[in-house]
Symmetry: D2
Subunit: 281 residues, 4 copies
Amino acid sequence: MDLVSFRETAERYSVIFLDAYGVLKSSTGLIDGALETVSSLIAAGKEVFVVTNDSSRSPESMAERYAQQAGGQLLPPERYISSGLLAAEYLEKQIPYGKVAYLGKPESAHYIEIAGKIPVPVADCTAKDNIVAIALLDDEGFDWFRDVNSTLNLIRRTNVPVVVANADITYPMRGNDIAIAVGSIGRLLSDITEKTFVRFGKPDSMIFAYALARAREQIPKVTKRDVLFVGDTLRTDIVGASTYGFDSTLVLSGNTLPERADLVIRSSGIIPTYISESIAT
Amino acid sequence: MDLVSFRETAERYSVIFLDAYGVLKSSTGLIDGALETVSSLIAAGKEVFVVTNDSSRSPESMAERYAQQAGGQLLPPERYISSGLLAAEYLEKQIPYGKVAYLGKPESAHYIEIAGKIPVPVADCTAKDNIVAIALLDDEGFDWFRDVNSTLNLIRRTNVPVVVANADITYPMRGNDIAIAVGSIGRLLSDITEKTFVRFGKPDSMIFAYALARAREQIPKVTKRDVLFVGDTLRTDIVGASTYGFDSTLVLSGNTLPERADLVIRSSGIIPTYISESIAT
Amino acid sequence: MDLVSFRETAERYSVIFLDAYGVLKSSTGLIDGALETVSSLIAAGKEVFVVTNDSSRSPESMAERYAQQAGGQLLPPERYISSGLLAAEYLEKQIPYGKVAYLGKPESAHYIEIAGKIPVPVADCTAKDNIVAIALLDDEGFDWFRDVNSTLNLIRRTNVPVVVANADITYPMRGNDIAIAVGSIGRLLSDITEKTFVRFGKPDSMIFAYALARAREQIPKVTKRDVLFVGDTLRTDIVGASTYGFDSTLVLSGNTLPERADLVIRSSGIIPTYISESIAT
Amino acid sequence: MDLVSFRETAERYSVIFLDAYGVLKSSTGLIDGALETVSSLIAAGKEVFVVTNDSSRSPESMAERYAQQAGGQLLPPERYISSGLLAAEYLEKQIPYGKVAYLGKPESAHYIEIAGKIPVPVADCTAKDNIVAIALLDDEGFDWFRDVNSTLNLIRRTNVPVVVANADITYPMRGNDIAIAVGSIGRLLSDITEKTFVRFGKPDSMIFAYALARAREQIPKVTKRDVLFVGDTLRTDIVGASTYGFDSTLVLSGNTLPERADLVIRSSGIIPTYISESIAT
């Protein structure tokens, strides 16, 4: 396993897609040196986007959070591409007008609102509500015991699509701890009910196609070969980007620990184009 | 469950994507009336494409086969979009020059050849071959006992990407029989080795994006809303098309039996936009 | 699907094993007629045992609860065989003295105490505790969000056996509602950590062997052929009992709804020896 | 990870259960020193049994094979306990008289014959045969492509129990190669049909209970504490034996490679009581 400099690698590409958790930030704030790297990529004329499975808040709210941590705007809201945007597009186009029961913080309901539907927390759903869809948006903002059980029975009683707006299994926390992401709650409920849910986010290629289309609004003739995707997780970021046709850099500043990288690459069979310690290198 | 006329439904869309097995053809030939429907769709100015997880032969060979059965060209080769084309693109762009070990008939090696790589049947691979990838293309053309076991050990011994060019689990045969598709062989080997493979085909959205891009070459301003996807399988065709943003018709001429359709829709939670007996209706 | 009288069926067997939830009781109390049937079985000289995956309380506490609902002792404590007893035996014999971190109500810690180990709720575990095992006992008595996440990280940080004392996926609630059982939490954590847990309870045959051994204390020459197992769940009770060699009655008073019984038997491939509406029939 | 001498460990137990593949033999014959260890265990008065998931031949045939390789009887036939015997007991007691369709070599049909049923190779089954069960016995003796597909359709068309007489996923071959065991074929077919099969063999505890009962015929008062189980596979031998209450020795002469043992113990969470290089040590 050879580590290469991220900044040198990035010089060869005109579009850089960065995962958020584990690449730009950790649970305690921005990753050391991330701000400087992003600034220098922009200064060098690269088109930089954040491409994340996080559907817990709007792009505007994401931009604001990074701005607080960075002491100034890192990237404007339209540069944050969340799997929540794909879920919103689905809810807008494929689902009739009505109430969407959701799991998540009130902020996550943003993706239901921009789809023109009415968000109702699962805890507030009654048998009389004629819901048109169920959306799993975030792992926080509700009582797991009560509301995951309620969601289970809601799924069993109704025959409406269940949308999982974040395909992640876990996300990194302080130290080497991790937390269960809403994608795992989706898998649990899908296993129990034996129903197929509508899932958005890496490794499915839709978010990569969406991001590429947004990059084309900046550079019309850009192709997959001009893109470098940077992520910290082999089973979502790297295999997804590679399948879609992007070169990829695995960074060791998040889910993939430096001392285990060599082993998990070999045991998973997923091979990134490059490996770097972090985007600061 | 209300059945609607397929032809009337199709009038509202300018692009029609048809799955192959169970929609256009069965194991015994073209589905009754399929030829007439395709002709009338073309006559009405619709852009018609076949979108299939079949990677066992080239688009040219597919076009020829349909022509034989239809007594004249059904659609030209460039109208056949196979998951094999995505696998070929991946092999071309993401894999260095060299030998690709494959499972499948010699015809299926087409997708390795157009990627500029050297196809070698798994049975002919020796320990000395420095293979650059392993490709699962088709369920026929090899000795299952010997070659599936050889593939297993090849995957364990090497650390190269394993490409599954057809995500299908089964395909329909004569009567109500089914056959195990190469996607199931991929799942078996992935479960045993605990490695992640690079999979192409429905329900992943990449093939839908690819097909839409091809339709745009004909009608530049076409959007997802102008497309109707027609398939016989809920868990690949319908959930995939719906997630990507296409309206969908489930036909009951293939994997989904008419007498079970209502039940499987309810138990799977996958809801097509329309249901039709077949495309002949 | 032919329904038979449970009481007539039971006449042919000398040992009757009854599942608890869905057979003897529902979430609202004893199932109608269950008390009378148990009394008449005992009066007829049958050896009656309750065989349950419930590890949330001790046999003594179970006996007391039924006594309250029945207005008098239904069965003495030694007639309640819980998967918790198997977990306790494992903790006693296979695990060294020390602290066992557990998920569940304080009552469920009974099974750790009788194993001679020190129960510590997961929420009270600190990094300094040298725990010797982790036990998932019950789905209640803790904060899911906080404690399931803590358990996940505890499993990742330590290398001690994880015991799941209840293999159930769900259990029936009021109406047709269900609740997520601790077995599902075990499956979620096992999937995320990719570790193998030590699981107790139906359908694994150990609890059936344990119950048979206990019946032999009453009737020394009893064989598997003398036993009728009565359960409401195909995938745990019926397939497990049948694999072990017991005849089985599926009752339709719990997890398997009368209107769906025929379908789920056919689609699951699990065939009970008999089907009865409830044990009251 | 501390390696201990197997012979010294064995001194503390009166009953020794040995897995076959990877403990006693490899694909090329008896493991070096295995014969001497077995002889010395017997000479020391230990009760020695082979406990295996192999259902490809009868205990008599197993005994004969070992005798050929050892140049004299290793153990008499009644000391070979195969998961096939459990499957035979099930077929005898739970299945009515009739034809049982099977996958495997003709020798494996032994387990159907001793159950008093009529074995019919899947390839010879016609729609007119009223089969009473389907048995997956062995990975050899049939044409995989034709017969695994036939078995799939047989399972779908009929509603009879499907017995998997060997729960193993793979077995070791020459060098570090492995081969797909019939348990994997069972998992593939069960995944496709979504049916629950009746599975026999480690890690389910039934075979351990069966073996203990056989040991009791020799030493009536023997308990679980007197037994040492020796296996080469963590996920079947070790977790199963430990769950049932046997102490266990993991040997590194089969599926678990010496250089990976430490890692797989930590990553699997399965902890053997002892680890030895082989039973020869």
